[in-house]
């Protein structure tokens, strides 16, 4: 297998036009790039999984039908595996996960105990209880489904015979995994890689993978390729990504905000918050018996960490007054809010005035049917003139943010553009407190650096920031140790 030339169009409109889509036999390729620019669609096309009914597809200048009929393509499709970004789309709701894990050729693989033990971090009992259920949209969790799919891929990888070829794709396989599981996944992938003469493509936004691979698995340097996909004048380009660039950038990051002792807090959340039958407490470090009060100071950034699916987003939304808690004491800008308060109390004095929040998924946080200019409409204190809107966009967008950009429907933007728009909308409000839920999600390194610069400006202006993120490498470096909290949560009642 060698890099592919792929072109995909819909109704004459080009969706993908990329030369050198990075796939190489015996190499683990890590592909970065802003979300929505065509990384996954290209991988699906190479793997022969695109439904060609409404698309015009060519791979290596061959029609899609010709490409799929090629002998080598048939072989690496049959021996390979595709771990989808959204695992529910892969799993059959009418079969238990265990049956699916042993379906067809997967039944011959003997490495299941090892894979399961490592992906469940030694808790085989928990894994067993998960594997005997039928997958539903809400159960098991996204992270558990992702682990089951990864386990299938590793089993399939172990079946490859010397001389045979296979194409393995992991599309955002760590998106729902916490840092410890993500590292375990990488270690597992590296361990199985030498046994498989396969082309392995890992599509991700998670740059922390770079640190794990280069620090822990330096011996693999010749077998790992880091690439980044860009959109240049409507066409995709793939360039080499230099791990040192990321590692150097991370090591250059310093805590944001003033180093002096904080004068005044603007947000305080007491431990013991209970919402949706779950209790939450904040601690300073793992295993700490003493619960702390989450305190966010003016001009400083506070970082709230916690495992996947624990409820970090729920806590942020409860602080924002979007969920009705069973128990809560929050102080926002000198005003106390408890479970007795109603949404209208937040609506009148908090939302968009004292505090705002950037939601995790830009796709869901923006009205897809609106135009870019409409996103700025109705924001308190913001005059939505064309000049003001372009000035606001210029903070996170390059030359792309010109007059005509304002008239583009939101649904036509790439995932990264949507995320930047999502951030800009909240940041121009200049509220006292800014809650950020995964602010770097879907962004490439350049855009991430711009966001961090903007956060620095917000802090310099006196805003306080509370951030939730899986990018621990980055936010650990940007936050002072005394401003880092760990969230712990446990279910109460049946």
């Amino acid at each position: 297998m060698k890099p592919f030339e792929i072109s995909i169009a819909q109704d004459g409109r080009p969706l993908i036009a990329v030369a050198g889509y990075p796939v190489a036999e015996g190499v683990l390729t890590i592909l970065f790039g802003e979300s929505g620019i065509g990384k996954s669609l290209s991988a699906l096309a190479v793997a022969g999984l695109v439904e060609p009914a409404e698309l015009t597809i060519s791979v290596d200048r061959e029609s899609y039908a010709h490409y799929l009929a090629r002998g080598d393509v048939r072989e690496y499709r049959a021996s390979g595996f595709f771990v989808f970004q959204e695992p529910s789309s892969h799993l059959n709701p009418l079969m238990t996960l265990r049956r699916q894990l042993n379906e067809g050729s997967l039944a011959r693989a003997t490495n299941e105990p090892d894979v399961i033990r490592r992906l469940w971090q030694g808790n085989e009992q928990e894994a067993a209880s998960i594997l005997d259920v039928y997958p539903k949209p809400y159960r098991p969790s996204g992270g558990e489904k992702q682990r089951v799919l990864a386990a299938m891929a590793f089993k399939k990888m172990s079946l490859l015979r010397p001389g045979s070829s296979g194409f393995f794709v992991f599309d955002e396989p760590t998106a729902s995994l916490d840092n410890r599981l993500r590292d375990e996944f990488i270690d597992l992938l590296v361990d199985y890689l030498p046994q498989a003469p396969a082309a392995v493509l890992l599509i991700t936004h998670d740059y922390s993978i770079v640190a794990r691979l280069t620090r822990r698995h330096a011996r693999l340097s010749g077998k790992v390729a880091f690439k980044e996909m860009y959109l240049v004048r409507g066409k995709q380009e793939v360039r080499d990504f230099e791990p040192r660039e990321y590692l150097g950038w991370v090591s250059s990051l310093k805590p944001l905000g003033p180093g002096t002792a904080p004068a005044e807090f603007v947000l305080r959340v007491a431990s013991g918050m209970r919402v949706l039958s779950r209790s939450y407490r904040f601690v300073r470090k793992e295993g700490d018996a003493n619960a702390a009060t989450l305190t966010v100071y003016k001009g400083r950034m506070t970082y709230l960490k916690g495992g996947s699916g624990l409820g970090k987003t729920t806590v942020l939304k409860t602080i924002m007054g979007l969920f009705e808690p069973e128990k809560m004491v929050v102080e926002i800008g000198g005003r106390r809010f408890t479970r007795e308060n109603r949404r209208k109390d937040w609506s009148r004095s908090v939302w968009g005035r004292k505090m705002t929040m950037v939601f995790q998924h830009a796709d869901e946080a923006l009205n897809q049917r609106a135009l870019v200019r409409d996103v700025f409409g109705g924001l308190p204190g913001f005059e939505s003139s064309e000049r003001n809107m372009l000035d606001a966009l210029a903070k996170l967008f390059d030359a792309e943010a010109e007059g005509s950009f304002l008239n583009r429907p939101v649904y036509t933007l790439s995932g990264g553009q949507k995320q930047r728009l999502n951030l800009v909308r909240s940041m121009i409000l200049q509220t006292e407190i800014l809650l950020l839920d995964e602010p770097l999600s879907g962004l490439d390194l350049k855009a991430s650096a711009k966001v961090i610069h903007l956060l620095e400006q917000q802090l310099a202006r006196g805003s306080a920031i509370l951030v939730v993120s899986h990018n621990e490498d980055i936010f650990d470096a940007l936050t002072r140790p005394e401003d880092v909290y760990l969230l712990e949560g446990h279910k109460e009642g049946p």
Partner: protein, 297 residues
């Protein structure tokens, strides 16, 4: 020449893809052909009556649809906001009114409107034909606006669960802007337009049905002869009834069809206008739903 051929080809392609356009064109063509036929074979006073009846019916139907949109939008948004703000008493009162309207068959509601119209005419409060037609329009819209209200409530309910509403609220954007502009205008106007097209057919059907029912006369002083002419009242007139009854001759003498289409045109035209309009608007609503993929929420 080439450009006009290309325009024609594009137009035909559009009509083929969009069934609602095809049916609208068919309705225009059907009514156009009928008028052309009537122009040749129907006497001038009767043709004037057919034209006036169709015009009044369409205007009244369109007015009813517009008023339903206004009432439905206002009540749907009010239901949603009262529920959100937990205004229990106001919500209960509004529900009581809505359920009271809902509990009565639509035809009965329109009939009650006609009875009131009778009283207003007798008391000489309403005199002009325009005012009478406006009254009928309001009556029909009161009978049907809850369908728009229900559509609006279901759209608001669906969007309430989506994250972008919360994201906008957190940015300080007012709830009323989110409801009216972002949810109803930007994300629901196709659903609402579909509902309004369907309601247009319902409004015409209701009006014609009630006109036919009251053709016996509302009181000794008020009958269909002194309320505005509509397709229903035209069909209910003695001349038209005779025209329709003449259709029965076809059973014994099929060749009588040639007489029907030249000698009994008033009744046949009125009946054709009603049935053809109802069928076409039913198909337009269905075609629109299909082409805009409005099956889901």
């Amino acid at each position: 020449m080439d450009s006009s051929r290309q325009f024609l080809r594009q137009s035909l392609g559009l009509i083929r893809r969009r069934k609602e356009l095809a049916w609208f064109c068919m309705w225009c063509a059907g009514i156009g052909c009928l008028f052309l036929w009537d122009e040749i074979f129907l006497n001038a006073p009767a043709f004037d009556r057919v034209r006036a009846a169709l015009f009044n019916t369409l205007v009244s139907g369109a007015g009813a649809v517009f008023l339903s949109l206004v009432l439905g939008w206002a009540s749907g948004a009010a239901f949603f906001l009262l529920e959100q703000r937990r205004a229990r008493y106001s919500f209960a009162l509004l529900s009581l009114v809505a359920n009271a309207i809902r509990s009565l068959p639509q035809v009965v509601l329109v009939l009650v409107g006609y009875v009131l119209l009778n009283q207003l005419i007798l008391a000489e409060i309403i005199r002009s034909e325009t005012a009478q037609l406006a009254w009928v329009t309001v009556t029909v819209s009161v009978a049907v606006f809850l369908e728009v209200s229900d559509t609006i409530r279901s759209r608001l309910e669906y969007f309430r669960s989506l994250e972008f509403i919360d994201a906008m609220l957190c940015c300080g954007i007012s709830e009323s802007r989110i409801i009216h502009r972002e949810i109803l205008w930007r994300n629901s106007r196709e659903h609402l337009l579909h509902k309004l097209i369907a309601l247009f057919g319902v409004a015409i059907f209701l009006q014609c049905s009630v006109d036919f029912i009251v053709s016996v006369g509302l009181s000794t002083n008020v009958s269909l002869s002194n309320v505005p002419l509509t397709l229903g009242s035209l069909l209910a007139s003695v001349d038209s009834k005779q025209d329709i009854l003449a259709l029965s001759n076809l059973f014994s003498d099929p060749a009588y069809i040639t007489e029907i289409v030249v000698r009994h045109l008033q009744g046949v035209s009125a009946a054709f206008c009603i049935v053809f309009t109802l069928v076409c608007f039913f198909m337009i609503a269905n075609g629109y739903a299909r082409s805009r993929r409005l099956n889901g929420p």
